[in-house]
């Protein structure tokens, strides 16, 4: 009985996928489209006062500042819950990404083609950490549409990284993105086992 219990405890009861991208790119919309709860907001403390915090509103530099993170939850089975964490893409938030990405299945980098430069920082980060990621180009109503291969070239995304179009407001579209990053994470695991 004790053996059964300890074995059950080793099997993970929850997991996470990270959604990264610039402000207003649709992270919270994506999370809300597939989450079974209204997206919740939590805060992490910004501990480094020397970092720029211009988007965090007028905060006296000596006061404790926080950065907000929206997240959602999907119950996948009786014994498994998936959490989706939306995180700001700017380099100054990297301090909280190590924590957020540890143990994650992978990441979705959400891209707005009008502001491609905002994708560079998350791309650099996930590449450097070896966390599997896919790039999802959010198709806004009024934004110009570019073929995915043009976006790949503009962002210098390696050939093996999957790229998809996404409508962050559409549940099925967001579900496909979650399936794609999970499949890719599994492919990467299989590839790394084959090499070793």
């Amino acid at each position: 009985m004790d053996y059964a219990r300890s074995s059950a405890q080793r099997s993970a009861a929850s997991t996470k996928i990270v959604v990264a991208g610039g402000f207003g790119v649709g992270k919270t919309t994506l999370v809300g489209s597939v989450s079974e709860i209204m997206p919740l907001r939590t805060e992490a403390l910004v501990t480094n006062e020397s970092e720029g915090v211009d988007d965090l509103a007028a905060v006296p530099t000596k006061a404790t500042t926080t950065v907000a993170m929206d997240f959602g939850r999907i119950t996948l089975a009786e014994d498994l819950v998936l959490y989706l964490f939306g995180t700001p893409g700017q380099r100054r938030f990297w301090f909280m990404w190590d924590d957020l990405c540890l143990g994650a299945i992978g990441a979705i980098v959400l891209v707005d083609t009008d502001r491609l430069d905002e994708a560079f920082s998350p791309l650099d980060y996930f590449e450097s950490k070896g966390l599997p990621f896919i790039v999802a180009v959010n198709q806004f109503d009024n934004a110009a549409r570019y073929p995915l291969e043009e976006v790949r070239a503009a962002l210098a995304i390696p050939e093996h990284v999957p790229m998809i179009d996404i409508d962050a407001r559409d549940r099925e579209s967001c579900k496909r993105a979650l399936i794609r990053i999970t499949e890719y994470s599994l492919e990467q695991l299989t590839a790394s086992v084959a090499v070793h």
């Binding site: 405890q9 080793r10 099997s11 993970a12 009861a13 929850s14 997991t15 996470k16 597939v34 209204m38 997206p39 919740l40 907001r41 939590t42 805060e43 992490a44 403390l45 965090l56 509103a57 905060v59 006296p60 006061a63 404790t64 500042t65 926080t66 950065v67 907000a68 993170m69 997240f71 939850r73 999907i74 996948l76 089975a77 498994l80 819950v81 998936l82 959490y83 964490f85 924590d99 957020l100 540890l102 143990g103 299945i105 579900k175 979650l178 399936i179 999970t182 499949e183 994470s185 599994l186 695991l189 790394s192 086992v193």
Partner: protein
Amino acid sequence: MALPTQPWTPDDDAPSARVVRPYTLTGGRTAPKVELPVEATLRREHGGSPDPTDANLSRILEVCDKRSVAEVSAHVHMPIGVVRVLLGDLIEQGHVRVQATLTADSSQDERRELIERTLRGLRTL
């Protein structure tokens, strides 16, 4: 002895800065006693030591069952780091148990098993 549930509005514009330094709630401690990933889910354990008298610990204990560290943080309006320290206390006191997640020490097999379960779940949504 159930406490009334706090009303909670997700769209509430939470302040991005506080006048009170958050770690005063933890007596200045910033490191939790146990490893607590943001997605780790918690189970309330009954029948252990008497319920905590500290109001913040009570609030956390009231909302934590079957929720993740991040959800607890959102529900009690405390930053993640503060919630981790206080949850660590509740775990040490036997009020709360933390359920397994992947860690840096997880094996390839454990990682694969979890990803496959996730994929199966996503495909049947």
